[in-house]
């Protein structure tokens, strides 16, 4: 069981850092995919970091669309 007690600052800080780091790592996925399409890796990375769900959705939709087109061909 998770016991926080009075250590809210520690809890908030550690969870925030963890979330930020995970976000930083997972944001590479939309950025790398954008880079493969010739878009700016850095711009997409920053965009993904702040709007990860949007960036991920856009990337997944594009990937799905491309694979669908490829299978139709």
């Amino acid at each position: 069981m998770m016991v926080i007690g009075t250590n809210t600052f520690t809890a908030a800080g550690l969870f925030a850092v963890l979330a930020a780091m995970l976000l930083g790592l997972f944001s590479t996925y939309p950025a790398v995919k954008a880079g493969e399409r010739g878009k700016s890796f850095l711009k997409w990375y920053i965009f993904s970091f702040f709007f990860f769900p949007v960036a991920l959705a856009a990337t997944v939709r594009r990937e799905t669309g491309e694979s669908g087109n490829a299978s139709e061909k």
Binding site: T6, N7, T28
Partner: protein, 893 residues
């Protein structure tokens, strides 16, 4: 060669060595022996020792082996160990010297000292072992000379034992072991190309000169160290030895410090990045912990421990061990690696420039064709050539040897008995031809001459043409020239053969008799490539190494040989064309051209320099003094054991056997070495970068230090110990296929991507320990009433210690390959063993008395399922990040 006038000033500026040589050239043999206090019987041992004491050993090497104390100091003193020394000194003052009685704790100082000791000792031992192996191999290179000594008579001694005044015997094929004055000789021709660049052998005589020459090289009765006896024999007296010789002077001029190689620059760049990390990180950690906890001494101790943790003190050892291991592997293939860091450059090399003669060719001329005047094969031409070559006694050059070697069967063997020699007209470089007069068993006499085509046409009035003897008309001459030109175009060296039956005068033949001859055909010779040259070039190309030939030879011959070994010979760039190019033009020309001919030594060096400026890691393989400047300019210089000493001096790698396939093996070994070095550097850099995040987060958000300084140092030591086996690790085959060179930017990007990956799980461990494991074991949340604060902190420290060790060790397996570790790519057994042992030791420490001494507590059973989940997630996330990283940067390592 045109003699250059020497001014009086220049004469006054002449070295004493040169003056001594000039004086000796004018003295007769008796006076010379008297001056050196020697007789034909040679020096006794006592005199030899005295003269060696006076003049030193006969060695031109200016790269003397480093003394023991220097090697020892270099093993222990480097930027990383200096940082550790300083830290240990500070900690000694704070923890021992000025600590209150009863609080003296030298354990941290001892751990740092042990780390320095292990790192330095391993480096020293590895380098000593490697040097010793290289020295043993060097002794396999045969360098001896024949001298007269009073005790032993005519005897073979190492060249380095010769002293001025020694009586030296020379025979065909010998290297001249010192600057010598010829006392007596027979048909002595010396090849001086290694000194003067002049390709034709020079005839030497024994008579004292009547007048002073302008320079020793002009004296016909002097021979020089580094040159070789082409034919004949001689008795000489050594006038200058070692650094006092003309050869030694050249060696000294080439002995400047080598340009920094890509390896040197790479290690420096990495070292600077890692030290900069540490210098930025330590004050930040110190200040944050000082301000948040208020315990400045504790904050300082922790910052110091972080500094030690961030110092990759094993880097020099890992680099050296890797290089030494590569050198040892090459030694087994009869290849000496003189400079350890050349191993890495071998793997990084993407362009190998090579001289032609003696490196890709055998330096052994063979008779390729014997043709009549019309260009058809004709045994009669070979028979005449055989008689000429067999019976001549003067300069027996490589082409005579080639003819004799080609005619080792019947009917040529019987011809030795069937013919007797009447006379000969020796070769000289003015006429460029030579003749013998022979008589057969029937009493028929023949003058047989062979030589350069132009010279032979000049003395011939007739030709055997279409089965008849015809006058040598303009039409026939044109056909002869055309055939010779065609053969030269095929890369063959062409001589013509002529004969004259029953020449008018017997017994006193002279050059005048070489007239009105009948031209009978041609001999075409080839200096063939080594058997392994084509396959070696092909193999190198398959490993991404472009081979370029840089030679002083002519374009046609070079083009032919290069074609035979599989090089693309689109365009041959000549030295004269290169001289007309500025660096910008040459920059693109060197990329488009594979064959460069008629080059001088500075032109070779310039091409290598331009290739390096173009970003290529460039190797140069050569065997002559003409190659030495280019070898010095290259990232990695390769030579062969038959090379002149100066080429061997300039070389980083010497092939003791002529099999060029060893080059491919060297390249692969070099890449393996580089791969294992970069593996350590990247995993250490990324691990340190990740730790930086973890430590900063802990400093800001945790109410205590996440690990005790002594625990941090122990963790660092165990991790370093597990890395010792990295030099023995495997590299994936895919990695070995392309050249690998230092790229500091790849290290930065690698640590920026992979570092936070491990840090994520450090933070997860903080959360698990702080909010789950420790409250359960210590009786509540941190700071709450009834909670065992000391147990809480001790457990927390221990939990992070164990997780950190597991994740740091696992990262070795995650990063060592782009494939899935343990399934698609396997680490070597030594690395598996060392990492498993490190993990086992680190996990068990908290349960031992030693663990308690350093403030650890035994971990509860519920910790380990958490650990397993954390590590599993870590491996999954690391695999994801690796995949993304490769999509962006292509290469992982």
């Amino acid at each position: 060669m045109k003699k250059q006038p020497v001014s009086a000033d220049a004469r006054r500026g002449m070295s004493t060595g040169a003056q001594r040589l000039l004086r000796s050239s004018m003295m007769d043999a008796e006076a010379l022996l008297g001056e050196y206090g020697n007789t034909c019987a040679g020096y006794d041992e006592e005199t030899v020792l005295a003269r060696r004491g006076q003049y030193g050993r006969n060695e031109t090497s200016v790269e003397k082996p480093e003394p023991f104390y220097k090697k020892l100091s270099e093993a222990f003193i480097n930027p990383f160990t200096v940082v550790l020394f300083i830290l240990a000194a500070i900690l000694f003052l704070t923890d021992v010297a000025f600590a209150a009685p009863g609080e003296k704790d030298p354990s941290t100082v001892i751990i740092i000292a042990v780390m320095v000791l292990i790192s330095g000792t391993l480096r020293f031992v590895q380098e000593a072992r490697s040097d010793s192996a290289a020295a043993k191999l060097r002794n396999m290179v045969h360098t001896s000379a024949t001298v007269s000594r009073a005790a032993t008579g005519k005897t073979d001694i190492p060249i380095s034992d010769i002293v001025p005044g020694d009586i030296v015997y020379l025979a065909a094929g010998d290297m001249v072991p010192a600057d010598v004055r010829v006392l007596a000789c027979k048909d002595l021709f010396i090849g001086q190309s290694s000194i003067t660049g002049e390709s034709a052998p020079v005839e030497k005589t024994a008579a004292p000169l009547a007048k002073t020459e302008s320079a020793p090289l002009e004296c016909s009765n002097l021979a020089f160290m580094g040159s070789n006896v082409v034919s004949g024999s001689a008795v000489c007296i050594a006038v200058a030895t070692g650094g006092g010789t003309s050869f030694g002077a050249v060696a000294k001029s080439l002995a400047g410090k080598r340009a920094a190689t890509s390896f040197d620059k790479g290690v420096d760049a990495v070292s600077r990045v890692l030290i900069r990390f540490m210098l930025c990180m330590v004050p930040v950690v110190f200040l944050i912990n000082g301000f948040t906890d208020g315990d400045w001494l504790e904050a300082f101790m922790f910052a110091v421990s972080v500094a030690v943790g961030l110092t990759p003190e094993m880097l020099p050892m890992i680099v050296t061990t890797n290089l030494a291991k590569g050198a040892a592997a090459m030694a087994k293939k009869k290849t000496i690696v003189k400079r350890l860091d050349a191993m890495q450059n071998f793997g990084a090399m993407d362009v190998l420039c090579t001289d032609k003669t003696g490196t890709i060719t055998k330096d052994k001329v063979v008779l390729e064709r014997y043709l009549d005047v019309e260009g058809n094969e004709d045994e009669r031409v070979l028979r005449h050539a055989f008689l000429n070559s067999y019976f001549q006694t003067g300069l027996k050059n490589l082409m005579d040897v080639a003819v004799i070697n080609h005619a080792k069967s019947e009917p040529y063997l019987s011809m030795k008995e069937q013919y007797t020699k009447v006379d000969e007209i020796p070769f000289d470089f003015g006429r460029r031809r030579m003749s013998v007069v022979v008589r057969d068993s029937g009493g028929k006499t023949q003058l047989i001459t062979k030589g350069a085509v132009e010279e032979m046409l000049a003395i011939s009035s007739y030709a055997e043409y279409k089965g008849r003897i015809v006058r040598l008309t303009g039409e026939v001459r044109s056909e002869v020239y055309e055939t010779a030109r065609r053969l030269s175009g095929e890369g063959l060296r062409v001589l013509a053969v002529a004969q004259r039956t029953n020449p008018p005068v017997e017994g006193v033949f002279s050059v005048r008799d070489e007239s009105d001859m009948v031209l009978i055909g041609y001999l075409a010779f080839l200096d063939p490539p080594k058997e392994t040259a084509a396959s070696a070039i092909k193999a190198l190309r398959s490993y991404g190494v472009d081979v370029k030939v840089l030679t002083g030879d002519g374009g046609a011959v070079t083009k032919n040989v290069c074609g035979k070994v599989g090089l693309s010979v689109g365009r041959v760039l000549l030295g004269s064309e290169i001289d007309r190019m500025d660096d910008a033009a040459l920059t693109s020309a060197v990329e488009e051209t594979s064959v460069f001919a008629k080059l001088t030594p500075p032109q070779k060096a310039r091409i290598v320099r331009v290739l390096r400026q173009n970003g290529h890691v460039t190797g140069f393989m050569g065997d002559g003094i003409n190659d030495a400047p280019a070898m010095r300019t290259a990232d990695v210089a390769v030579s062969v054991d038959t090379a002149v000493d100066i080429a061997k001096e300039s070389a980083d790698i010497i092939l003791l056997e002529k099999d060029l396939m060893v080059l491919e093996q060297g390249v692969v070994e070099g890449r393996r070495v580089f791969g294992n070095i970069i593996k350590y550097i990247k995993m250490t850099a990324s691990s340190n970068f990740g730790n930086m995040f973890s430590v900063l987060a802990a400093s800001v958000f945790l109410p205590f230090l996440p690990m005790r300084p002594i625990q941090l140092l122990l963790l660092n030591m165990i991790y370093d110990a597990s890395c010792i086996a990295i030099p023995w690790d495997n590299m994936d085959y895919d990695y070995l296929k392309t050249p690998r060179k230092w790229d500091a930017s790849s290290i930065s990007s690698f640590m920026a991507w992979l570092g936070p990956t491990s840090s994520v799980f450090d933070i997860v461990t903080y959360i698990v320990m702080f909010f789950f494991i420790c409250p359960a074991a210590a009786g509540g949340a941190y700071g709450a009433a009834g909670t065992d604060r000391n147990l809480f902190i001790s457990l927390f420290n221990t939990g992070w210690f164990v997780e950190s060790l597991w994740s740091q060790t696992l990262v070795i397996h995650m990063i060592r390959t782009p494939k899935v570790p343990f399934i698609e790519s396997h680490a070597s057994p030594p690395l598996l063993f060392s990492t498993s042992a490190a993990i086992a030791a680190g996990t068990l420490v908290p349960f031992t008395a030693f663990g308690r001494i350093i403030g650890m507590s035994p971990l509860p059973a519920e910790y380990f399922p958490w650990l397993a989940v954390i590590l599993l997630c870590y491996m999954m996330l690391a695999t994801f990040v690796k995949k993304m990283y490769r999509k962006k940067y292509v290469e992982l390592l």
